[in-house]
Amino acid sequence: MREPHDSAARPPRTPNRRGVRAARPPNPHSPGSACSCRRRRCLPTGPEGKNVEDFTGPRERSDLGFITFDITADLENIFDWNVKQLFLYLSAEYSTKNNALNQVVLWDKIVLRGDNPKLLLKDMKTKYFFFDDGNGLKGNRNVTLTLSWNVVPNAGILPLVTGSGHVSVPFPDTYEITKSY
């Protein structure tokens, strides 16, 4: 079930490619800003948390987060003659009592040169289980989602670029026991 999200939860992003002058970012607080064709946007909805045995690894009870999100992206200006593919990934970064820094990749996608550079993904579930190392997701207000990409050239340097604009996803104070995805 989706909670209504307010406009503050969707800051538009600007292309952030090295060597290219970044476009002036649209005002992140203007509600329903017009869609310019050069931005990336990630809209998460209603994160929920559960506490289960981490069946993907160490069998301790850990927090498991559920997030659904939309991604709108135009990657066209990242591709040049030397770019073979892009490895796009959505990662969550947060801090807990157990660990000063946690980063979890929730979703990734390989975009090859020649594929459609415009992504319009809606109601996406996370590709990987969002398990915490411990119980640090419950009530965590500072989970930040970031879209980043690894540029794989035909030959040369392998840069890791982080998209500008982060979206904060606050987790509720209680566990969800009745429903799941």
Partner: protein, 179 residues
């Protein structure tokens, strides 16, 4: 000018020529070693250049691609990076991507990896009972790459005759080449 067997049967000129060739060869080998050691120091990695051996990172890297690694302590391990790591007790390093990290206040970090072309993460590859990798398992982070070139190393490994042929030709070239 001299009599006798073996080296003594060569003239003084020829002997000097031979010494020169040996020193020349020695200098080439030493230079190569110095460059390699220098790379190890600059990059902080024990193996600054590696060859991709499997297809688990396709379509980015294929068997035979060459990767350039760094392993500087000041660069913290973050998700999305391509790391080359060794599992305890195994010799062959693996090239995969970091999927998850958990770092404590004191800098101790544990992380999980997955190959782009694999359906699941690497927990099945780790040692029995091991759920995470640590800094000590890392050989380096991939910073640059060149395709195809490393296929020579793979061929030399798989076909020893090819390796001997290459070494023989190299040796022949050095000896025959006169400055």
């Amino acid at each position: 000018m001299s009599s006798g067997s073996g080296l003594q049967s060569l003239s003084a000129d020829e002997l000097q020529e031979l010494y020169y060739q040996v020193l020349n060869f020695g200098m080439i080998v030493s230079s190569a070693l110095m460059i390699w050691k220098g790379l190890m120091v600059i990059t902080g990695s024990e193996s600054p250049i590696v060859v991709v051996l499997s297809g688990s990172m396709e379509p980015a890297f294929h068997r035979g691609d060459l990767l350039f690694l760094t392993n500087r302590v000041e660069d913290p391990i973050r998700v999305g990076e391509i790391v080359v790591f060794r599992i305890e007790g195994r010799e062959i390093p693996i090239v995969h991507r970091v999927l998850k990290i958990h770092e404590k206040q004191n800098g101790h970090i544990k992380f999980l990896t997955k190959g782009d072309n694999n359906a699941v993460d690497d927990r099945g590859l780790y040692k029995q009972g091991q759920h995470w990798l640590e800094k000590k398992d890392v050989v380096g982070r991939a910073r640059g790459f060149v395709p195809y070139i490393g296929i020579v190393t793979i061929l030399m490994n798989d076909y020893p005759k090819f390796k001997y042929a290459v070494l023989f030709l190299l040796g022949l070239f050095v000896l025959v080449h006169r400055e």
